[in-house]
């Protein structure tokens, strides 16, 4: 078994798990929900082994480094973070219907890693700028944050779906979604969690930049976009804490915030140029 085979299996695993979660949402069958959770957990284990094996393979090749150094590896790790975050959320809130709005993100990330144009799956050696202990700290903190924001966005979509269905006479299957107040609460908690990790991600990035280049902040497009994302979530949290915003507004902000995350992650690499170009291929 090679790491790329295991990661290929995980892509399919998350596709099937997404289908099962969506089926659970539509047909309200308890068994498919349990199957979805088990499949997700198994796929997660396969993916974890895959990431570990890729790490090991890089040492076999003599260019050993944590598999967090390019677009392919970051997408795999993004997907991994979404799943572990989601599984903990499922455990805490004991609700499998959330999966239909979270696991598809993990699948899309894996599928894009595997089939996206210009994404190299090869294990490549680390260029001097990336040879730092801050690599793991920076990438891990950022992606835990991104994963939380992805799930918050999925839940935001769930909230909007449910609240628009409630306006109608017959809410149908959407009516089986958790109570709006529950979704709203989970969105908020997820965003708070993501905000903390995004802050840590920006800070670790700044410390790393200072040890590599002597400036902790240089208004590079990637840095600036991460700060824009931070402003958006900071504003969202203030609107909620002090002005009592909730419900639809917060759901929309969860989606807008995640769009900013996506732009920070992909848009900056593909559309803008700057210091932070390692992740673009």
């Amino acid at each position: 078994m090679t790491s790329s085979q295991l990661l290929g299996i995980s892509t399919i695993g998350y596709l099937l798990a997404s289908a099962l979660y969506i089926a659970t949402l539509i047909f309200k069958t308890k068994k498919s929900g349990v199957a979805a959770s088990i499949l997700t957990l198994l796929t997660f284990l396969v993916q974890t082994v895959g990431i570990g094996l890729r790490w090991y393979e890089s040492y076999q090749m003599g260019v050993g480094h944590a598999p967090l150094s390019n677009m392919y590896e970051s997408l795999v790790f993004f997907s991994w973070s979404i799943v572990i975050f989601y599984l903990l959320l499922e455990l805490k809130f004991n609700n499998r219907l959330l999966g239909a709005f979270a696991i598809p993100f993990a699948f899309v990330s894996m599928a894009y890693a595997s089939f996206g144009k210009g994404i190299s799956q090869e294990i490549s050696p680390l260029i001097p700028a990336l040879q730092s202990n801050w690599l793991i700290a920076h990438v891990v903190t950022c992606f835990i944050g991104y994963a939380a924001f992805a799930v918050a966005c999925g839940l935001g979509a769930m909230y909007l779906l449910k609240s628009s269905a409630e306006d109608k006479a017959d809410p149908g299957l959407i009516g089986t979604l958790p109570d709006l107040r529950v979704i709203d609460d989970i969105i908020h908690k997820t965003m708070v969690f993501g905000f903390l990790w995004l802050s840590a991600g920006i800070i670790t990035g700044a410390i790393w930049a200072n040890s590599a280049w002597g400036t902790y902040w240089s208004w590079d497009p990637k840095e600036t976009w991460s700060l824009i994302t931070w402003f958006i979530y900071a504003a969202t949290l203030h609107a909620r804490f002090t002005r009592g915003w909730q419900g639809k507004r917060i759901a929309w902000l969860a989606i807008i915030g995640f769009l900013s995350v996506i732009f920070t992650y992909f848009g900056v690499n593909f559309l803008l140029s700057g210091l932070h170009s390692y992740g673009s291929s």
Binding site: I203, S211, W213, T215, Y216, W219, I228, I232, H238, R243
Partner: protein, 445 residues
């Protein structure tokens, strides 16, 4: 205070302004990521046309993050944070140090959650039981006599109310650190050819010369590559010289700079000259000389009456290193030609004399040099921000009151609680505490 001043003050104390400033900062920041920053003026004319370029100049778009209006936005954020803190902190502080044994007894019954337990015990005995029930769950109670009854009070984490202010002040500390850095520090760069030293560097932007007050010597620069040709390591062996004497040496690579007297030297680039440094030592006489050599030229060393030259080169595909063919002869006519790998030293015999022949490609190392006395303030601010966020998000101020009073022939024990955040978790804790109290009250009654 006039009304005008009042309204400006309350504007700066408001969260509404904070939301606006955050929104404008976010939107304005986008501009500088789309429009190239600090490019030459012609570049903007070429990209956007003369009229747009003039507009950009007026609005400072070519150096947006240092423009007066962007800095003004940051100042507004800073003022907003400061005034909002001055406005709110005293009230919050009052809550932190509040004497909760003086709480209005009538409010206790209205608190959520609450639980009333009736017992036949005497109030003093019931109070002891309640105190034990609280202690069992880690709550240490204070006691006071109030309204013909006994009031117990216990709390956890009153200081957590300050978490959000820690976050706000951390941003101000980071701003202060950034200002200290820009007023008392500098950023610059310098190219130092191998074997040379410099006592000054050049500031970014205006290229102004900055005296270091000591010298930096580049002893050696080495570039290693991966088999695929990508750079593996840039390494400069540097030394600090004070009055010509070496006081510190360090081999720096990217991510591992050299610091001396507040100045930090970062490996940032290099320059190649298609020249070579050749060191020749006569192992008997110990005569030694360093030569800077161009390939294909004959070099003479008059002292030893020898001459040499580089005549060919070859790339090793696995180590990605060049080796060079050297031609070497002395005045008696003895001649030798041999291969030497870049960076190596070979021992060569010409007649009866043995020479150590060292060769390496000649580079200049490109260093980024900074002095930033504010960086530790920024780091401290960052640490406070993370701790503050954790406190503000995950910890709460939890309070429990127990009021015990004799009513008719029964003793009423009213347990009331209140948390400023994370209420569901507190309700669980509260349920455990009130269950303990109830159990204790029942056990011996």
């Amino acid at each position: 205070m006039s009304n005008d001043k009042n309204s400006i003050w309350s504007l700066f104390a408001s969260v509404k302004l904070a939301l606006f400033v955050l929104f404008f900062l976010a939107s304005a920041s986008v501009i500088g990521t789309v429009i190239p920053q600090n490019s030459p003026a012609e570049e903007y004319v070429k990209l956007y046309g003369a009229n747009m370029a003039r507009l950009f100049q007026i609005l400072d778009f070519q150096d947006m993050y240092n423009s007066w209006w962007f800095v003004l936005l940051l100042v507004m954020l800073g003022l907003n944070l400061t005034i909002c803190t001055i406005e709110r902190l005293p009230n919050v502080w009052r809550l932190v140090v509040l004497d909760n044994l003086a709480t209005d007894i009538d409010r206790l019954a209205g608190m959520r959650p609450n639980k009333q337990i009736l017992t036949s015990m005497a109030p003093e005995e019931a109070a002891a039981k309640a105190r034990a029930g609280l202690a069992e769950n880690g709550w240490q109670a204070k006691e006071a006599v109030r309204d013909n009854g006994i009031l117990l009070f216990a709390q956890k984490g009153p200081w957590t109310r300050l978490g959000v202010y820690a976050v706000h002040s951390s941003i101000l500390i980071i701003f202060a650190g950034a200002m200290i850095g820009s007023y008392f520090g500098y950023k610059g760069s310098v190219m130092i050819p191998e074997t040379r030293s410099t006592d000054s560097i050049y500031a970014f932007g205006d290229q102004k010369e900055i005296k270091l007050g000591f010298e930096v010597l580049c002893k050696r620069f080495t570039l290693t590559k991966y088999p695929n040709g990508a750079p593996k390591e840039f390494r400069s062996d540097l030394a600090i010289l004070e009055n010509g004497k070496e006081v510190l040496t360090k081999s720096i690579v990217v991510n591992d700079p050299l610091s001396y007297k507040g100045h930090t030297f970062y490996q940032s680039s290099y320059q190649s000259y298609q020249k070579f440094l050749i060191s020749l030592t006569d192992n008997q006489s110990k005569n030694a000389e360093l030569f800077l050599v161009e390939p294909g030229k004959e070099i003479k060393w008059p002292l030893e009456e020898v001459s040499f030259g580089i005549i060919n080169r070859e790339l090793n595909q696995t180590s990605m290193q060049y080796r060079y063919k050297i031609w070497f002869k002395d005045s008696s006519g003895a001649a030798e030609s041999f291969w030497i790998v870049d960076g190596d030293t070979a021992t060569v015999k010409l007649g009866d004399t043995e020479y150590a022949f060292g060769l390496k490609e000649f580079f200049a190392t490109g260093l980024q040099v900074t002095k930033d006395p504010g960086v530790w303030y920024v780091y401290i601010g960052c640490a406070i921000m993370l701790l503050g966020l954790m406190v503000a998000f995950f910890l709460s101020h939890r309070r429990i009151w127990v009021f015990i009073k004799r009513e008719n022939d029964e003793t009423s024990v009213l347990v009331s609680g209140n948390a400023n955040k994370n209420k569901p978790t507190f309700e669980k804790n509260f349920a455990a505490v009130s269950a303990s109290i109830e159990e204790k009250l029942k056990s011996l009654s």
